[in-house]
């Protein structure tokens, strides 16, 4: 009796005094990290650095992905960078406009002097000299602006071509099989189509419009502005139609296929948990939690993709917006003293910059809406569980 008592006492003492260290691990983080490694997301992030240019030089994209996984999105650094860019562009466009203002001032003085002469052609020659100088100033950076926009659209298409296969793989992994097989060809087709059409048709059309506008301001009596207006309105219509068709097709097909996916997955899970005898229920629930982590990762990748798209587009958008505002302000300032053709010239340049801004904005909105819709559709397929 004594021996038993002492044995149990010693065993209890040993049990309570010797403590082994115990580590508890966060199961969600492990699953997400493993999924990240197996999908090669860090490779994807490395490759996107090719396309993003220098807007994201000091922003770490991996950190953004991690913070998006946990649900916080840090906006303040991006806002500050946008404000910096705005200030820089404002300063650099002011130079051109101050030059134009000085030229118009000198011309109005010379015109007032030369009105006393009898010969009409002197004033006309003064006008042509002024006109040539102003056009030279404006055209100095116009062609670099157009090639900048072309580069941006190419970067956008390249980046989306990288992003969509990764998103599709994640979507298939989390169970939206019908949705991804239906949507991926549509999205890739539209992305490539828009990139090619804008480079081959729309931007040359904008250059043609600029040429027509410049040429028709030489003389009062000979004008071909209506052709330029027709081309402007047709570009606007064309972009609007493509945007509408794209958004409509994706939302319609997405709502149809997401319910199919949800019901399929639910039936499969019910079959597994009821038919497999011992481990069926545990198997079904653990698959659910793994897929939930997959959905968190997919959403994070989508959010990072949208932020990168905004970052690619933001530099030319800000430049175009400042140029458009400055030109229309200067057209209003110049109106009392300058020749009417110059006022109209500056106003029409402002509307061309607005057209280019509209092209860029609608392309980026197209991509952002496409990615967001794709994520939301595959999320709603998961809601059935």
């Amino acid at each position: 009796m004594n021996k038993k008592f002492w044995c149990t006492l010693i065993i209890l003492l040993i049990w309570f005094t010797i403590k082994a260290p115990v580590y508890a691990s966060n199961l969600d983080e492990e699953i997400i990290n493993d999924t990240q490694k197996s999908f090669g997301i860090s490779d994807f992030l490395e490759e996107t650095k090719k396309y993003t240019g220098n807007f994201f030089e000091d922003v770490n994209i991996e950190d953004m992905l991690d913070s998006a996984i946990t649900g916080n999105i840090d906006n303040s650094t991006i806002f500050k960078k946008i404000l910096n860019l705005f200030g820089k562009e404002l300063v650099s466009s002011m130079k051109t406009l101050v030059g134009i203002l000085v030229i118009v001032l000198v011309h109005s003085i010379l015109k007032a002097i030369s009105e006393g002469f009898e010969n009409d052609s002197i004033s006309r020659i003064i006008y042509y000299v002024q006109y040539i100088l102003i056009i030279t100033l404006i055209m100095n950076n116009f062609s670099s602006l157009i090639s900048n926009i072309n580069n941006t659209i190419n970067n956008l298409t390249g980046f989306t071509n990288c992003l969509i296969p990764l998103l599709t793989t994640l979507m298939v992994y989390t169970g939206s099989i019908t949705t991804s097989s239906l949507l991926e060809p549509i999205i890739l087709f539209v992305v490539d189509f828009i990139g090619n059409i804008i480079g081959a048709l729309v931007l040359p059309a904008v250059s043609i419009i600029v040429a027509l506008i410049i040429v028709s301001k030489i003389s009062d009596k000979i004008q071909i502005v209506r052709l330029a207006d027709f081309m402007k309105s047709s570009i606007g219509w064309f972009l609007g139609i493509i945007l509408t068709i794209f958004v409509g097709v994706i939302s319609l097909e997405g709502t149809l296929t997401s319910s199919v996916d949800g019901i399929t997955a639910k039936t499969a899970k019910a079959a597994i948990s009821s038919l497999i005898p011992v481990v069926g229920k545990v198997l079904g629930d653990s698959v659910d939690s793994v897929l939930g982590c997959g959905i968190v990762l997919k959403n994070a990748v989508g959010v990072v993709g949208v932020v990168i798209i905004i970052g690619i587009c933001i530099v030319p958008i800000i430049k175009l917006a400042t140029l458009s505002i400055l030109y229309s302000i200067s057209s209003a300032i110049i109106e009392p003293i300058a020749d009417e053709k110059i006022v109209r010239l500056l106003g029409e340049f402002s509307s061309i910059f607005k057209l280019l801004l509209g092209i860029l904005c609608s392309v980026s909105v197209l991509f952002i809406i496409g990615i967001t819709l794709v994520i939301k559709i595959s999320n709603s397929g998961m809601m059935y569980r």
Partner: protein, 82 residues
């Protein structure tokens, strides 16, 4: 395609510039109106010149053009896939 558009716009721009120069240096008088009519016809003609080539206009069959264009694209793709 881009070459074609470039040549077209070059034609229009040259027409308008030449017409403006003439309009400037012509002396006022009876003849000015008629010269302006002729210059206007020159400008109109340079704008619609791609559509006025007579051989193309008579033999223009749009569906055949689309067929040959898409056949070209398909044969280019099969050649580049091999």
């Amino acid at each position: 395609m881009i070459n074609f558009l470039g040549k077209w716009i070059e034609g229009i721009a040259i027409a308008v510039i030449v017409a403006s120069i003439f309009e400037m240096i012509l002396p006022d008088g009876n003849i000015k109106k008629y010269v302006k009519i002729v210059l206007g016809i020159y400008i109109i003609f340079s704008i619609i010149s791609p559509f006025v080539d007579r051989k193309e206009l008579y033999n223009l069959n749009i569906s055949k053009e689309i067929d040959t264009y898409s056949n070209n694209i398909v044969s280019n793709e099969t050649n580049s896939n091999r």
